[in-house]
Symmetry: C2
Subunit: 388 residues, 2 copies
């Protein structure tokens, strides 16, 4: 029976740790302090939905050499004990007096010289998953050791996916592909959008998702108003454009793409919008290559949309993907992150069909030396019409 | 058609804001800065799964008087515009140069006097959902205004649920009750635990969950090893005890309870363990009343287990519940939070049947003046046996 608590062989985690330690040396960091589900899973293989409870902080300390040290609530000891690391220190959480802070401080003091620098991810798209008051106390307990910016050390490693990771993301994309294939079974004229959202989640689970961390979408006459609202109970009707977007999870890895459907015959402007999004994605698939910057991808997508006569939608037109629904970089005019071989990205062009009516389109790719390789099954050229 | 983007009438949110502002006055806070999905939803009604993307920070500033001000990414403007608040300030996120920090600083400066104190939740079970580097920059931009501890101001209000909130939690509990009722349909001898987890999530969605933020559980001969691991592919077999635990979500409110099942005939020690957990819950239902402390509830539960001859499991034996899977307080020997009328709590006794074999049991209640009122349907006295 495969023990799914580990997901990858220990060697995969050892490679990650060595890559992080190489980055740490370049940046004069004597340790990394990691607190988020993604960073803890990435370094240890510790995968659980228990993060949904905000009650307890969890810590992984990665020293300059050697294996990561887990400093975690005792309730996690059994599962962490099945992971590849051996140094696991626990406390009984939640503790209103000292919720792991002195145990973490002792660990850092034992691993980092007094003059040392401890990196935490603190930049764009990051957060620290522990109470601010405890973080302030930690800083004074570990002085003169200093907290430093470890964002780049973590991001430059995590953003390049191993082949093993790419296969996981490809498998999750296949789950969503199969679920999207079944949308016409449950989404048609007269069905409330809220029921469509439920049935889509059911389909994702039946097709192999371990859980469904994200489903969004929209439906409206000739386009939808936004893409982040919960579903309402309005029944689908002829003339609607339905969009479903999902971040399903299998073995800890996300997909993130969407599909559009016309309920009944699609109006001309809707078909044109879909065609322009498809063409813009084709342009990116044809011309993206390693060494470009995230903002170059934004330019490729938006110029292709303009060539199609479309009005480019606001917001970013893609992003990284893997351990969370979205990862850096962001495909915006401002993001100068280099796009490198092994990055998994979403291509997410959006257009405004008319005031308050938008359409978005998304594919998942891995960037290879020769260009993007699709991980999602390419959306059909023509917008599918659900005719009853 | 009900616009489910608001969930409650504006009056509900106004009452919450007034209660928070009353706490702020008592604690000399001139504003609250809120960053988490739960705190933003609580004050504005803004409910979306888009929080799953860690890319963008979202802010709500609650001044000493008047309505909350939303300082949010432009992608949320449409949905926030349908909420009850009117002052919505947006920026194009993610912005690698200034991801809302100067807009947030300007907002705080305009609402808080130079000598003022801005509270953030920074205590036990909290975290700040924004990059640490941006938080440090914010502190210097708003000086001489100071960041202060706003934990109690927020917790003392949020922990008392309104009748409208209690009805939402009751409705979510009913979804889980109905799904637990169906477990014998899909969980029996020979079915892999991973498929049971999937089918249980499907049942929750079919019974009315909007989404399923949490499913955990375990299965093992005569008890399970832990309660936070992902499901493995081991088929259920006679002699197993199966436990399923869920935090399903409907209209933004969680349930959090579990149920146990024997696969085939239950062994004597398993039936005794279930009976002791049931009896301990009965003891809490009979004797808990407002004015007790969280640690008193821990004592009631653990003393009742000991009276039954059981070995009390480690960890907390219950917690708050509502907008997140778990909320403060924690039912531990250390938590001195007063249990007050209107709190929604889980009663979660656990026992160790033998080395490495545990059993847990959970109900959801609201604390009334006269004692606890069940929100979950009381588990059966006898452990249900699934006989093929």
């Amino acid at each position: 029976m495969p023990d799914r608590s580990l997901i990858f062989p220990a060697e995969e985690y050892r490679c990650r740790v060595m890559a992080l330690q190489s980055q740490m040396r370049r940046r004069q960091l004597d340790a990394l302090l990691l607190t988020t589900p993604a960073d803890v899973f990435y370094t240890t293989g510790f995968l659980t939905r228990f993060w949904e409870s905000p009650a307890r902080p969890w810590f992984v300390v990665l020293p300059a050499t050697g294996e990561p040290v887990a400093v975690i609530p005792a309730i996690g000891a059994e599962l962490m004990g099945r992971c590849w690391i051996s140094d696991i220190r626990t406390w009984n959480a939640p503790d209103p007096v000292d919720d792991g802070v002195s145990l973490l401080a002792d660990t850092l003091i034992s691993l980092v010289p007094a003059s040392g620098r401890i990196g935490i991810p603190m930049g764009l798209e990051s957060h620290l998953r522990m109470p601010v008051a405890d973080f302030l106390r930690l800083q004074s307990l570990i002085a003169p050791r200093r907290i430093a910016d470890g964002t780049d050390a973590v991001y430059r490693v995590r953003e390049i996916k191993s082949e093993a990771e790419i296969e996981k993301i490809r498998a999750t994309c296949a789950v969503a592909d199969a679920a999207f294939e079944r949308v016409p079974e449950f989404a048609h004229h007269g069905v409330p959008l809220s029921r469509v959202f439920r049935d889509f989640q059911v389909a994702l689970l039946q097709e192999g998702a371990d859980w469904v961390s994200y489903v969004a979408g929209g439906a409206g006459q000739g386009g939808y108003g936004d893409v982040i609202s919960p579903a309402d109970d309005r029944p689908l009707q002829a003339g609607d454009v339905l969009m479903l977007d999902t971040g399903a999870v299998r073995e800890g890895y996300f997909c993130d793409f969407d599909r559009n459907f016309a309920i009944g015959r699609a109006a001309d402007d809707v078909r044109r919008a879909h065609a322009s999004l498809h063409a813009a994605t084709d342009a990116a698939l044809a011309s993206l290559h390693p060494g470009m910057l995230a903002r170059d991808l934004h330019r490729i997508l938006s110029e292709a949309l303009v060539r199609q006569g479309a009005v480019v939608g606001g917001g970013r037109l893609g992003h990284g993907l893997g351990l969370t629904l979205t990862e850096w970089p962001s495909v915006t005019p401002l993001d100068t992150t280099e796009l490198r071989e092994g990055m998994v990205l979403t291509l997410e062009p959006g257009v405004e069909i008319a005031q308050g009516r938008i359409m978005v389109h998304e594919e998942n790719v891995v960037l290879r030396a020769e260009g993007p390789e699709l991980l999602s099954r390419r959306a059909p050229t023509e917008l599918p019409e659900i005719m009853e």
